[in-house]
């Protein structure tokens, strides 16, 4: 049946099964391919996007449950926190293969939108659901700290 989803500020209507995970609706039907498939069971974080500002694993969220929510994919990121994260990612050359990095950026942005002075423990807690097999964890952590400092200097994440 048809569902209307609000993605990156725009309404998208699509006719899919209600149990289709949001990940596949976004990737296969709307062609927002920045959100990645890694495990299909909310174990790796590659599919992370924001639902009403909260980092969410889209590979286990049925489309029917996403109706009426504000969905943000990496293509729709634009907040100061997101920009700070993405520029830190470039400056510190965080990505290696890069496949997990959309999810890392989404998780890091959601963290910094709530907390612009994260401790190492805060970062570990927010980011340990995002696997990176290339082992970019040290640079992700450094990138989050660099972005946090930039956000604080600019006067906040909002």
């Amino acid at each position: 049946m048809p569902y209307t989803l609000s993605i990156n500020g725009q309404q998208h209507e699509l006719d899919v099964d209600g149990d289709m995970p949001l990940l596949w609706a976004v990737r296969d039907h709307l062609h927002f391919t920045g959100t990645k498939f890694g495990c299909g069971m909310a174990q790796c974080g590659a599919c992370t996007l924001h639902i009403d500002g909260v980092a969410t694993r889209s590979c286990v969220l049925p489309v029917a449950d996403a109706v009426g929510k504000a969905i943000t994919t990496i293509e729709g990121l634009g907040s100061p926190a997101a920009q700070a994260v993405q520029s830190a990612w470039v400056e510190l050359q965080v990505p290696q293969c890069g496949y997990c990095q959309s999810g890392q950026v989404m998780s890091a942005t959601a963290l910094l939108e709530q907390n612009d002075t994260p401790t190492d423990a805060d970062i570990d807690a927010a980011m340990s659901g995002n696997i990176c097999r290339c082992g970019t964890y040290p640079r992700i952590k450094a990138g989050i700290k660099m972005a946090a400092s930039q956000i604080r200097n600019a006067g906040g994440a909002a």
């Binding site: 039907h29 391919t33 890694g38 470039v90 990505p95 293969c97 290339c134």
Partner: protein, 732 residues
């Protein structure tokens, strides 16, 4: 892998500059554009300009360099970018000698063309063995220098001035008041005769501006904003998605199946048998997957592997108590050991490991008549192309492969049997002219085989009265990675697969008598190289064993190693650098912590790692790792540090938790909930120090992996007194 072994069979390294230059539309760029494959900003502007005008855009100077009138320098990258940084590193070599502005460089994967793009250490186009920089360094510098010579020659003609008075700096050619960008000279320069290789004058290391610089930021961009394109993201008009139901046991085949329920499912287009299982082709991945769940399949398991990994390892432990085929022999270690008064013996065990790269394997293929077109992270270009051509009964040149970024590889993407690639082709050939994206789920990937093999080792040493080894013997039991592959002729000699024993052969420590023996086992579980190949296990047993000898002798583990490395200045220097930076012998550790060291040479590079661990009861955490690497000239120090950090993380994951097991032939693990890999909360602080060198660059992607598990085990031995010989490491 031992790259010297490749080198024996390689063609003479040379430079491809003698070819006729010609005008050429950048075919891969424009194809990528029309297919919606995202290009970097510069390339995209270029593609748009071409599409708009229909004019020629890229002027090809040689196989690696083209320059557009719009002042874009495009560099063709012959190796797969899978995170190791080849886009950046290889482009640096060209840009250095070309004296280009780093900002004007765009990179693009080269097409499959073995004559132009062979790996000079392998003799075929392909990426592996940490050879990308080692085989390209001179070739790409010459390609850059040759293109520069053509620009200079064009400028001399235009301005009527002597060639040797012309200067080139950061993308600008100048003489007196004359000044031109590369783009302004691009057309005239492309018509110059390419210089002879021996006429090229390359820079001295002191003249390097980009090589060794911290400012050459990575060129594989779009990874922070989701625009980088991987196989999973490739979209071709009319494309369908396929999944395959594989047998639960390796070697089983389809006996019968009922697809009626699957075919009735919304979105499912076709269901058919292929040689690896039952393919379900649908409009999208979800429909294909739901369709697959509705299949009724009966498997013929008469040829299936039904043994458990526990059974196999028990068999391997028995095997290493018996004499194996001799891989290396110096003196008479066996007799010396038999008559020794003082002897140490340790038995080691290693499980199967999955690569578990973040992007499960996948491949897009379209078969039309006698030709094939594919889009994927292609790591074995020559091999895959040949395998596809053979399957289709066509010529290699009729198989066109578009290489896109790979979401990790660690060995898996370079399958010697082109397993997932041929599976995609086998499906696509059933739907002529229709592009099909084969997608493996995480479960398919983890249970689909091609693992790092399980092994057992037995290491023995006879000691003198100072505790130094007089004789050393290593026995290894496990499957051969190379047997049955096209590389067997190169890598298997007299029944010895070099990748089963490398690292224990060519033993780095001074021991007068040595013998390495191998039992190659026959098991139906598909195996494959995994980041650092044989060194994944040999470095562990070698370095834990030598550490145990040091502890037995009551000597400091660094001092003991140095005393056996007097003939090996490279390992000595790297070990000393790591020890100094880690504060070995000076830095006080908190109570309950231990410190361990390991040093190993692989892929032409030497890495020493010192791990500090904290222990609480049966739990421990790796707190800090200090690494030192000698990889020759450091082309990009930031990428080298990133690769060492990543190699440590990858190896640490296996040291701490990765373990793939089989119960009666069925893989027990299926996804990241029961195949645990390293996450951020277990990642230690890593410091990497690069030894200054003027030697040619050697491997960087893999050599950081081998020492880490041993360094951690040795740290645990320091903290607890117990030597652990089984991976993953468990204190209880």
């Amino acid at each position: 892998m031992n790259i010297n072994r490749f080198a024996r069979n390689k063609q003479q390294p040379g430079v491809d500059t003698g070819r006729r230059n010609f005008l050429k539309v950048a075919a891969t760029g424009s194809a990528g554009f029309t297919l919606g494959i995202s290009l970097s900003a510069g390339a995209q502007a270029q593609a748009q300009a071409t599409t708009a005008s229909g004019a020629v855009n890229a002027l090809e100077y040689n196989a690696f360099v083209s320059i557009t009138p719009e002042n874009v320098v495009r560099i063709y990258i012959k190796h797969l970018e899978m995170g190791q940084g080849v886009y950046t590193g290889l482009a640096t070599c060209v840009a250095e000698e070309l004296d280009a502005d780093w900002q004007q460089i765009v990179c693009e994967h080269a097409p499959v063309d073995t004559a132009k793009y062979a790996n000079l250490l392998m003799g075929q186009q392909g990426t592996g063995g940490s050879t990308a920089m080692a085989n390209s360094f001179m070739q790409l510098r010459r390609a850059g220098a040759a293109a520069k010579a053509m620009l200079v020659s064009a400028a001399a003609q235009r301005w009527q001035v002597p060639i040797d008075e012309i200067r080139v700096n950061e993308g600008v050619v100048s003489h007196g008041s004359h000044r031109a960008t590369f783009g302004e000279l691009a057309v005239e320069a492309s018509r110059q005769t390419p210089p002879a290789t021996d006429a090229l004058v390359l820079k001295t290391p002191a003249q390097f501006r980009l090589i060794g610089s911290e400012n050459t930021l990575r060129k594989d961009t779009g990874k922070q904003d989701g625009t980088a394109i991987y196989t999973q993201d490739v979209q071709v008009p009319g494309m369908l998605t396929a999944v395959v139901a594989h047998a639960p046991r390796f070697g089983a085949r389809v006996r019968s199946f009922d697809a009626s329920a699957a075919l009735a499912r919304r979105g499912v287009r076709q269901v058919f048998e292929i040689d690896t299982g039952i393919a379900v082709v649908a409009d999208d991945y979800w429909s294909a997957t739901k369709g697959r769940e509705l299949l009724q399949i009966e498997w013929d398991e008469s040829s299936a592997e039904t043994r458990s990994s526990d059974t196999l390892l028990q068999q391997y432990r028995n095997l290493v108590e018996t004499e194996g085929a001799i891989a290396e022999q110096h003196g008479n270690a066996v007799d010396t050991l038999a008559s020794a008064n003082d002897k140490v013996e340790l038995v080691f065990e290693f499980p199967y490991l999955a690569h578990a790269q973040m992007e499960p394997v996948n491949c897009v293929a379209r078969i039309s008549g006698n030709s094939a077109e594919l889009w994927y992270g292609c790591q074995s270009a020559t091999g895959d192309q040949a395998a596809i051509a053979q399957l289709l009964g066509t010529r290699p040149q009729d198989v066109k492969i578009h290489t896109v970024f790979a979401g990790g590889g660690f060995g898996r993407r370079a399958n010697p049997k082109a397993d997932y690639v041929l599976e995609a082709v086998n499906i696509a050939r059933q739907l002529p002219d229709t592009p099909v994206k084969l997608v493996w789920s995480r479960e398919d990937d983890m249970q689909g085989g091609f693992y790092r093999p399980a092994y057992a080792h037995k290491l023995s040493a006879a000691l003198d009265d100072q505790g130094k080894p007089l004789a050393f013997q290593a026995r290894i039991a496990g499957q051969s990675i190379m047997a049955g592959t096209s590389m067997a002729a190169m890598m298997v000699n007299n029944g010895i697969d070099n990748t089963s024993v490398e690292g224990l052969t060519e033993f780095s420590y001074e021991v007068p008598e040595r013998q390495v023996e191998l039992h190659t086992t026959d098991v139906g579980v598909p195996v494959q190289w995994w980041r650092s190949v044989g060194h994944t296990h040999t470095a562990f047993s070698k370095e834990v064993f030598i550490n145990a000898l040091a502890r037995k002798a009551g000597m400091d583990p660094v001092a003991y190693r140095l005393s056996l490395l007097t003939h090996n200045p490279r390992e000595t220097a790297v070990l000393k650098l790591a020890a100094e930076k880690a504060g070995w012998g000076s830095r006080e550790l908190p109570a309950g912590w231990g410190r361990g060291v390991a040093v190993h040479t692989s892929f032409g590079s030497t890495v020493a790692e010192i791990a500090e661990v904290s222990v609480q009861g049966n739990n421990f955490k790796v707190e800090r790792v200090v690494a030192a690497i000698d990889c020759g000239i450091a082309v990009n120090p930031s990428i080298i540090r990133a690769q060492v950090e990543g190699a440590i993380a990858y190896g640490l994951s296996a040291a701490l938790q990765d373990e793939l097991t089989l119960s009666e032939g069925v893989v027990d693990q299926s996804n990241f909930h029961n195949y645990q890999v390293l996450r951020m909360n277990a990642m230690p602080v890593v410091e990497t120090h690069i030894l200054a060198s003027t030697n040619a660059p050697s491997g960087v992607g893999e050599p950081g992996t081998p020492p880490i598990a041993a360094a951690v085990a040795n740290a645990l031995a320091d903290a607890t007194g117990n030597t652990l010989t089984r991976l993953p490491l468990r204190l209880s």
